[in-house]
Structures are given as C-alpha cells and as structure tokens.
C-alpha cells in the first residue's frame, strides 16, 4: 500500500470538497456555545471574569476552593449533566454525519445534503452500537482489573501495589493491541456496510498479519494530532479563555475572529485525519488478501 498516495489523495479530495469540514466545524461551534451557555447559567462566568479583573489589578485571582464550592451546587451539577447529555447527542449525530460525508466522497457519490442525511440516519444506530461495543471491549477488562486490584489491596497492601504495577503494564498493552486490531472499524462499517459486530470481527481479522501497516497509518494520525494540538488546539483554547475573561469589546471581537479562524483550521485537520483513515483503509483492503 502507498501511504503517500493515500495521504495526497485525502488532502486533494478535501481541497476539492471543502464541505466535508462543515459537520465538524458546526459540532465544534456548538460545543463552544454550549460551554459558554453553561458557564453563564451556573455563574462560573462571573467568577472567571471577576477573577481576571482581580488579576489585572494585581491580585491573585478569586478562583479558590471556597468559591468553587459555592458554584458547584446540586443544581449546577444537574445542569452539567443536562449539557453533557445534549452535547453528546448533538456531537454524536454530527460525527455520524461527518463520516457519512467522507463515505460518500470515498465511494465517489454525490455530496449533497439529502445523501448525507440519508446515509447518516441509516448508520446512526449501527454507529451507536459500534461505539458502545468498542467502549465495552476497551473498558470492561480494565474495570475487571481495577476491581481485582482493589480486592487485593484490601487483602494485602504489598500484593495490591505489585499487582497494580503489573496490571498497569498489562492493561496498557491490551489497550494498544486491541486499538490497533480494531483500527479500521469505522471505515469497515461505513464503506462495506457491515453491522457493528461484523465490523469489529472483520477489523480484528484483517489487521491480524498487517499490524506494521496499521501502525504506520496510526503513527501518521498521531503526527496530525500532535501538530493540531500544538499549533491549533492550544491557541484555540487560549483564545476562548481570553474571550471569556476579556473586558474590552475590541478584544472580544478580535478573539471571536481568532476563534473562528482556529476552528476552521482545526476542522480541516480533523477531517483530513478521518479522510486519510478511510482512504488508507480502501488501499489497505486492496492489498490485503484474506
């Protein structure tokens, strides 16, 4: 398989079909708006803004245990749960829409609103099942290990510590192994139209003797994530915090422009990552004989 070709193809396709970034951009904007709304409802905004003013006047800020305790009331925690739930539903649907768009692109179908929503709705429950199963596969053994360690700690502290060290190594190895074997689950589900369980089984099978290729694709995706974190996510977060704590209109406007700019670039990078995963899967599938 030709990783370079797959990457160039993903990049060129994204340049040609910029609409692919739309669902990701929208989901990020919604996420920021929800966060903004939440801090306004709960009073965190007031605390942050007063604290920033205090720091500007030479103080040490007002974020301390007492103030934080005052804000985290039962009502605010309930709001938090509601926001997380609403946010998760929206983000989940939009990520399904985003993968649907990428699938349409990979399968050379027309990228229009109707096709996109149709495909997203078709895969919605399958994708949900896939995510739940993936979570269980990753986390169930980890949870079991944690329970065993706690029990061992109760029996003997020394045995508990020793088993903690060993099981940490085992758990990390397990997560890396299973992650690499199940690396292609989403492209398999969307491109090959398989059920959640079949996608997992197929990914596990297909990656078995080709972990090197999977590792290379994974390494490139890690590289994209690192670049994105250094050059985009960090300044985006900085801009967002500066916007929240800003006390001048001009600065707030400048921050909004910066946030929007960073959001567009971040969406582009994230879309590129997903597109690369799908195109490299297509290439991988072509070269791998089962």
């Amino acid at each position: 398989m030709d990783i370079k070709k797959d990457f160039n193809k993903s990049f060129n396709e994204l340049k040609k079909n910029k609409v692919i970034i739309a669902p990701i951009l929208i989901s990020m904007i919604i996420l920021l708006l929800l966060a903004y709304l939440y801090i306004h409802i709960t009073g965190v905004y007031g605390l942050l803004s007063d604290s920033a003013n205090d720091i500007r006047q030479g103080g040490n800020g007002l974020v301390n245990t007492e103030n934080v305790k005052e804000i985290f009331t039962l009502e605010n925690l309930a709001w938090l749960l509601i926001f997380i739930l609403v946010g998760s539903i929206i983000l989940f649907y939009l990520s399904c829409v985003s993968l649907a768009l990428i699938t349409l692109n990979v399968l050379k179908k027309e990228l229009n609103f109707y096709n996109m929503i149709n495909l997203a709705n078709k895969y919605l429950f399958k994708f949900l099942t896939l995510n739940v199963l993936m979570f269980l596969i990753m986390m169930a053994p980890v949870l079991a290990v944690v329970i065993i360690i706690i029990l061992l700690f109760i029996i003997s502290k020394t045995i508990g510590i020793i088993s903690f060290v060993f099981s940490t190594i085992i758990v990390i190895s397990y997560i890396i192994f299973i992650f690499l074997r199940l690396f292609f689950v989403s492209p398999i589900m969307f491109i090959e139209n398989k059920s959640a369980i079949k996608s997992i089984a197929f990914s596990y099978q297909i990656a078995k003797h080709h972990l090197r290729q999977v590792l290379i694709i994974f390494a490139i995706m890690i590289g994209i994530t690192i670049i994105s974190n250094i050059f985009i996510t960090n300044p985006l977060n900085e801009s967002y915090i500066s916007f929240i704590t800003s006390n001048s209109l001009l600065k707030s406007i400048a921050m909004v422009i910066l946030i929007f700019l960073f959001l567009i670039i971040e969406s582009f990078v994230y879309a590129l990552e997903q597109l690369f995963l799908f195109y490299s899967y297509v290439d991988f599938r072509r070269t791998v004989k089962l």
Binding site: I3, K4, F7, N8, S10, F11, N12, I216, A219, I220, I222, G223, I224, I226, I227, F231, I232, N234, P235, L236, E238, S239, S242, K251, A254, M255, L258, L261, F262, I265
Partner: protein
Amino acid sequence: MKYIQESLKAGFDLNTTKKTLLDNGYPEDYIEEAANYVTGSINVSKRDNTETKEIEKSIYEDDMKKIEYAGFWIRLSASMWDGIILGIPTIAIAALLVWITKIQPLGSLVVLALLIVTIYMEGIKGGTPGKLILGLKIENKNGDYIGLGGALLRFIGRILSELILFIGYLMIAWDKRKQGLHDKIAGTYVIKTKERKGLFILGLILFLIPLILLPTLVAIGSLAYFGVLAPSKFIPESCTIGPGFSCDEFNLDSAGVLRVVLRNGLGENVESIQVKVENDCNPRLREWKDGEAITFSCFVTLKEPGSVFNQPFTISYNTLDGDSKIKQGVIRTKYP
C-alpha cells in the same frame, strides 16, 4: 534502462546489475521498474502509456545527470539558515504583536503562519529558504516538486522523527539516499542542484557557535555558583550596600581604623544613624541629609597582613516618619 539492457547483453547477471545501480544511488523502486520493463516480467502492453513514458524519462534523466543527495551536515546547515531567515523574524513579530496588542493567541497565529509558509515553500518551491540558498531541492521520485499534500505529510513525518529522539533526522547520515524518516514516509529526496560551499560552512559555524558557547557559559556559571570562580576572588577590594546608599570610598589603615565614606541616596533626610562594622562607628546618632557623604571611622581587629578582610556592616537609621530601618552591606579588602 539502457544500462540494464546493455549489461544483460554483455552477459552480466540481472541481480549484479541491479546492485551496481543501487550502489550508484538510484532509487530501488526505479531499478525494479526498469528491470521489470527490460525483462518483460510485467505486461507492458497493459501498462498506462504515460506512466511508462514517465519512468523511461526519469531513468533517462537520471542517466544524464548523476543525482547527488544532500547529506546530514548540509541539511543541518540549511536548518540554521531557516532559523535565521524564518525563525528569528517570526519570534520577533510574534513577540512584538503580543506586546502591542496584549493578545497572547496572536503569537500562536504567527507561528501557525510560519508552519503554513514552510509547507508551501517545501511543496511548491522545492524547499525552505535555507535549503534553497544552499542549492538544495526537495523532490519526489519523478524529480517533481512534492506538492502541498506531500509537504504536509513530510512535516508530519518530521514530528515523528522528533518523537523518536531525533533518530529520524540522524537516519539521513547513514541512509544510502540520505533520506530521513520523514523523507521515507513522504517518499521524498533532498538533492543538490548547486554547490554553495561558503554558505554551507557559515551555516555550520552558526550552528557550532551556540553549541560551544552554551556549555562554556553553563560551565562558568556552575563554577561561579559553587564558588570556584566567584567574582569576589578576582576583585579583592569591594564595598557593597543595598539600594539607597552608596559606598564612595573605604580604607583600612595599620592602626586598625577602617574609614568608609557613605552617601545617602534615599531621596530623603534620615536621623539617628548608626553604622556598625564589628563595633559601632563614629559619628553616630546624628542627622544624615539626602545626598550627603559622611566619613565613618570604625575600629577593627587586625589580622595577618595580606589576608582577606571580609566584613559585613549595617546602617541603621530612623526615617522622619519615625520608622526604624536597617541596611546591610559588605566590605572586602586586605589587612595592611
């Protein structure tokens, strides 16, 4: 291809021919393609005509010019030039923007712009300014510019090269075609198009200067910190005092009298002054006007002539508001 054909005609083994080409720096995939073409092991008629022509053309061009890959040191020198041409101005602009606007993320935006410029230059112009001024060019196996996608992939590869403790960069030193990990990932080659020895050496010197200077400064600093190279050892006579007062002159005579001329620079008059070096000095408990210099005489115990006299002293005084304050200083000289 011509070479393979002629070698085979001359009775040489195909593998030996391939090895000779490989040793001469031709890319392995080129050789394979050309060998396949010559021996007819792939169905030529089914191949895309343009692609075949491209391979023929690139092999022919390689025959014409001997490819000279850029090695580790020249690329290091190019990085130094990049630091000077792109890095320093970027940092300066970012710092200036943040300083003027007080908007921290603007600095990050400038750095992001540098990243975009780097990718653009590598993809479309064939190299960063540092590489271009040293006559280097980044190209793919067909000898073309690598394009924006290729440059982005190469940049991602660079992050991976750094992640494995820069081994990805060091690979350039021993690789046959001088490819680092990032070059291998992106399928790129850095070749020499011109000879720019002067700039190459200057770049290396610029790299070596901080490399030599930094450990030297660290060594001097450490020696000074642990007292081996303490400046006081080389400056035997000194009289230091905290802000607000200055020590204009001092002298220790053979009778054991230390005379120190101190000046009030507090910006206000003070009273009830008392200077103490071992014992109280004269005059004492008087007023001290702002800017006034007073000579204080103090009796000290004499020790072996030539040995170091290193004595702390204090100035205690009252401000006109009634606050009592103390300043500390040190006098260092030799016993007469």
